[in-house]
């Protein structure tokens, strides 16, 4: 009997949606980029990406599914507006365990008409069992191609200061757990302040994830965070349904 893994690997099974990342400037919000968010097959137990990757990890196939999601994202991103950056999630273990990862990513981007300079990879991890030499070499190749590096979900799960030190990111995506409801919560605000200081000290751009209302938006802006993502500005949508004009100034 075919397993759910077979279903995930079937062409067209994994879908990708894009959520806007917005930069707040004095003249208003500007579209900064789109984060590609993978979804499992509709109507299956794998529809939630957290479940899909948990399952793939338990089957020992996380890196394969990761690469499949990246390839799908690249294909879908080819129809997005040509300027905003395209941010793609990748597990640290995939960077560590995939020979010639950077080469494959760059070739994949070019094959779909996407300049590597438009790409950002968001590194996430659940267990930090990486071969650091391999990760460093891959990150170096990506940087040389102009690809931005972000640490994803900083402050949540295994995304911690060690990851920040190891990856030397250009961008720091702040976990929604810390951002959502930060207004009036001094523990969340203190955590945000600390991450902003960390990012600023290393010339990294902090990006607040999970901004869902005007209060949280005002709170993160007051802390000097100009790049935000969340339902306040837009939910994730398939590329074909995105109307970028509403963000473009």
């Amino acid at each position: 009997m075919p397993t759910m893994l077979d279903e995930l690997c079937r062409p067209g099974s994994i879908r990708v949606e894009f959520q806007p990342i917005v930069q707040l400037r004095e003249d208003g919000p500007h579209l900064y980029g789109f984060e590609a968010l993978s979804r499992g097959p509709r109507g299956t137990t794998m529809e939630l990406p957290s479940v899909m990757f948990e399952y793939a990890r338990r089957k020992g196939r996380e890196n394969e599914i990761d690469r499949l999601c990246i390839a799908t994202a690249m294909m879908a991103a080819s129809s997005l507006p040509p300027e905003p950056i395209i941010s793609i999630n990748v597990h640290g273990s995939t960077l560590s365990n995939t020979p010639r990862f950077a080469e494959g990513l760059i070739e994949g981007a070019l094959a779909h008409g996407i300049a590597p300079e438009r790409l950002m990879i968001e590194i996430l991890e659940h267990r930090t069992l990486w071969v650091m030499e391999a990760v460093h070499a891959t990150l170096q190749e990506l940087r040389e191609a102009g690809i931005r590096i972000a640490v994803d979900d900083l402050g949540g799960g295994a995304s911690n200061y060690r990851m920040f030190v190891d990856c030397r990111p250009d961008h720091v995506k702040i976990d929604r757990y810390i951002v959502h409801g930060c207004t009036g919560d001094r523990y969340r605000l203190a955590s945000l302040r600390s991450i902003v200081a960390l990012a600023n000290a290393c010339d990294a751009v902090p990006v607040a994830e999970g901004v869902e209302d005007a209060d949280d938006l005002a709170a993160v802006r007051a802390l000097g965070i100009d790049c935000v993502q969340g339902w306040h500005f837009g939910r994730s949508l398939p590329a074909s349904e995105i109307d970028a004009s509403e963000f473009l100034h």
């Binding site: 009997m1 137990t45 479940v51 948990e54």
Partner: protein, 125 residues
């Protein structure tokens, strides 16, 4: 609010029948075919009850016991029923030791199974 349950069985026909019956009885039902799929779901979704077949790969296998152990560790408030046609006192005792709430021998009517599920979850189904 409807109770959410996860049914784990490697046979499609059984999953389909149990899913339909429990859905009609007012439960919200997810289905999994394998141990890893069940564990992934339990990790990220809060279930009121997991109903798992003891054997998920071959006759005599005991993946269901792994599910009991995982559920107990990961979400202690979720109740667990193990179903099997090949039970033995030693396996039953091991299942209960691991924290299984009910060890049910097949054949069992779906109506009876719904009654047990309703009792364990405190639902009116």
């Amino acid at each position: 609010m409807a109770k959410r349950i996860l049914i784990v069985d490697d046979q499609d026909s059984i999953l389909h029948a149990v899913n339909r019956f429990f859905t009609r009885a007012g439960f919200v039902v997810d289905c999994a075919h394998e141990l890893e799929e069940a564990e992934a779901l339990v990790t990220h979704i809060a279930y009121d009850l997991v109903i798992a077949d003891l054997s998920l790969s071959e006759q005599g296998s005991t993946e269901g016991l792994e599910i009991v152990r995982y559920v107990r560790r990961c979400c202690p408030h979720t109740r667990v029923i193990i179903l099997t046609a090949y039970g033995s006192p030693s396996i039953e005792s091991e299942a209960l030791r691991r924290g299984c709430d009910r060890f049910v021998l097949k054949p069992k009517s779906l109506s009876d199974l719904v009654k047990i599920a309703a009792e364990l979850t405190g639902s009116a189904a």
